[in-house]
């Protein structure tokens, strides 16, 4: 063999980790693994349960009952001009997507420490699989929402928003998904490094729900505190979701742009940090 042949290598491992991380082609090579993880998670949740996949539907339904009872009847929070069931269900379904994805991705390193320390694959596969899995859950729950909506259309004859607005529904879903991915990635790194933060996260996210128009419309918030709710990048997405689907919501173009910019900024920064840090974290976890 000529020696110059030896200078050509397929790969090189050095101490430097890369901000840009895995090439897209490498992620693509591992696409089956992502599908495998989604499949595993789905099978695992419903293994040896009586109701099986029905749990995906039961959770929002039970939450809906609670909300209608507590916030609708007992506390009496206004739901604007919308029937409470539709109003709450729309909020619950979208919130579940954010909440589950964020918490699921934030625990990436803690839950997979054993696996990560024994075999290499692009670490980003795990959060991507989580996001896909919860989008799947969301799809099922969204189906439930559509069924309820259909019921109200036929039997309660509520007014339908213009069909052109429906195009904005997937935009809301994608932005919510991406925001939870971005924040999840960021917190997966932080919680792996500073373990105590993981205890706080689930509490903070529960409080965060009250800053998001899940159980109340933005129009219900007094002018004095509205800025606080509007600072939340999720607020415009929830309002737009209800506006496009149910015909009622309070949103301006500026707020929507704010949400988009915030989401993509968080996502890009988180991806860079994740790529840079994920290799080093294996030494720690």
């Amino acid at each position: 063999m000529p020696t110059k042949e030896n200078t050509k290598w397929d790969w090189e491992i050095t101490g430097k980790s890369n901000w840009w991380g895995n090439s897209f082609t490498e992620l693509w090579l591992y696409r089956h693994l992502a599908v495998g993880f989604v499949r595993r998670d789905f099978l695992l949740i419903y293994q040896q349960t009586v109701l099986g996949p029905l749990w995906v539907l039961l959770q929002p339904i039970l939450t809906l009952f609670t909300y209608v009872l507590v916030f609708g009847k007992v506390v009496g929070i206004s739901t604007g001009g919308l029937p409470p069931v539709l109003f709450y269900l729309a909020g619950i379904v979208l919130w579940n997507l954010f909440n589950d994805t964020f918490l699921g991705i934030a625990s990436t390193f803690r839950e997979n420490a054993q696996l990560f320390s024994k075999v290499y694959f692009p670490r980003l596969i795990v959060p991507f699989a989580r996001l896909s899995g919860y989008l799947l859950h969301f799809g099922i729950q969204f189906g439930l929402l559509l069924c309820v909506l259909l019921y109200y259309l036929v039997f309660q004859s509520i007014k339908l928003p213009p069909a052109s607005g429906l195009l904005l529904v997937p935009v809301c879903i994608i932005l919510t998904g991406l925001l939870s991915l971005g924040l999840g990635l960021l917190f997966s790194i932080i919680t792996a490094k500073y373990r105590d933060i993981s205890y706080i996260i689930s509490m903070v996210i529960r409080l965060f729900m009250f800053l998001t128009p899940v159980i109340y419309p933005v129009s219900y918030v007094s002018d004095k505190w509205r800025w606080l709710v509007e600072l939340n990048p999720l607020t415009p997405l929830f309002e737009l979701f209800r506006l496009a689907l149910l015909g009622e919501g309070l949103i301006t173009i500026t707020q929507f742009v704010y949400s988009c910019v915030f989401t993509f900024a968080v996502l890009i920064v988180s991806l860079l940090i994740f790529n840079k840090q994920s290799d080093k974290l294996i030494d720690i976890i």
């Binding site: 042949e5 397929d10 491992i13 980790s17 075999v119 490094k193």
Partner: protein, 426 residues
């Protein structure tokens, strides 16, 4: 000459001891500011091992300046004591962790098997797990599908494919896990201690598979094992790591021999100058205990063929008496292998000396310890010196192509005849 597929150059890995990171959020930020932004030296952790700070603050060099090359189709066996850096090296080559300094360059696809059953999930069925662990090890769906039947046949688990793995016996679990791994087709395969599990028959099957893969398909294998016999049989080249550094690199027989003799250089003898220092009581005090292997040459390893002489001296402080000594040999697990009594001899006050020879080709491989009992009038124990010597016997098989653990407390060579009595006549 085959081309080089892995080149390891000045590879070092520093592990910080104690708290990871600085432990403080603010200090971590300060550290990031000085090293990443201002490109200065790390204010909290120096990278240069020759820095004069004490090692406890510097951390531990799991690997230090390791360089070697692996050629295509070569099977490299890595030996070394626990903590020598073997696993760290494999983890860096597998891309699981990053080196602190140095680089590894290579060609071709790497698959690593650092543990049996990586990514297996107990709740899922055998079928699901074959796919999942295949994906995790880097196989594509098409690859797994095309080899699915082969994998199932290798593991011999056809009937249990749709049973959750948690209902498998541990043997079945290992078989399935290894079967998936054995059907990987990387250019470079990395194996860590995989043969430590599984029953003997399956171990043999795995070793056979590995041999076949490296010889026939020209695959490069990096192999870490404590089973020296397996390493000797499979590997061409050996790499001996000690405390993170390369101690020896060369043909496997040389490296294995060097490693073995070095591993056995612990103290076989104990001496005491005066009766006050020696272990014992007011009747008996030991002066010397010594294990002297009757090696054919000084560098030969201590294996099951080696005769061992046990020599001892004690001070008899009990006056004139009939004394005998029992030598009791225990296996590492505490099982008594034999209890050997010396002749009963009339001794005066003073030093009494004894020697016993345990012949070669008698004990099985393993770890042993010896206790000595001094007895008066073949009935009254005067003193028991528990666990005064311990030693390891390495395995030796000669031409035997069987790598599983040899059964039995002893492995004697007795006259044994086997011959054709009556040939079948056609």
């Amino acid at each position: 000459m085959a081309e080089t597929v892995i080149q390891v150059e000045n590879l070092s890995k520093l592990y910080r001891l104690g708290s990871i990171g600085t432990g403080y959020f603010l200090q971590d930020i300060q550290r990031w500011w000085t090293t990443a932004v201002r490109k200065k030296h790390d204010p909290f952790f120096g990278l240069n091992p020759s820095d004069n700070a004490p090692p406890s603050q510097k951390g531990l060099w799991a690997l230090h300046d390791v360089s070697f090359e692996v050629k295509q189709g070569e099977v490299l066996g890595i030996v070394g004591r626990n903590g020598a850096g073997k696993s760290t090296l494999l983890k860096i080559i597998s891309r699981i962790i990053r080196p602190t300094q140095g680089a590894i360059r290579g060609r071709g696809k790497i698959s690593s098997l650092l543990e049996v059953g990586t990514g297996f999930n107990l709740e899922l069925t055998g079928r699901e797990n074959i796919y999942l662990s295949g994906y995790i090890l880097g196989m594509t769906k098409a690859e797994i599908r095309s080899k699915f039947d082969e994998i199932v046949a290798f593991a011999n688990l056809e009937q249990f494919l749709d049973t959750p793995v948690k209902r498998y016996s541990s043997g079945m679990y290992v078989r399935l896990a290894f079967a998936v791994a054995a059907h990987l087709e990387p250019d470079i395969l990395i194996l860590d201690e995989v043969l430590a599990v599984g029953d003997a028959e399956f171990q043999k099957k795995c070793l056979g598979k590995m041999n076949e893969v490296s010889r026939n398909e020209g695959r490069t294998i990096l192999f870490v094992s404590h089973n020296l016999q397996a390493i000797l049989n499979i590997c061409d080249t050996g790499l001996w790591l000690e405390k993170g550094k390369v101690k020896q690199l060369g043909p496997i027989s040389q490296v294995a021999n060097g490693y073995l003799t070095d591993a056995q250089k612990f103290k076989f003898s104990q001496h005491w100058q005066t009766p006050e220092e020696g272990p014992g009581n007011e009747l008996i005090r030991f002066k010397k205990v010594e294990l002297v292997p009757q090696l054919s040459h000084p560098d030969a390893p201590l294996d099951i063929r080696t005769p061992l002489a046990v020599k001892f001296q004690f001070w008899n402080l009990s006056g004139e008496a009939h004394l005998s000594t029992n030598l009791v040999l225990f296996s590492y697990g505490g099982e008594c292998i034999f209890d050997l009594a010396s002749p009963n001899v009339l001794c005066q006050e003073g030093v009494v000396e004894g020697e016993c020879i345990i012949p070669g080709n008698f004990l099985n491989d393993g770890s042993y310890f010896i206790s000595l009992y001094v007895v008066k009038d073949t009935a009254t124990p005067l003193y028991t010196y528990e666990e005064c010597l311990s030693f390891d016997l390495e395995d030796y098989r000669g031409d035997i192509r069987w790598y599983g653990k040899w059964w039995g407390a002893v492995r004697p060579i007795f006259p044994f005849r086997l011959e054709q009595a009556e040939p079948v006549l056609y």
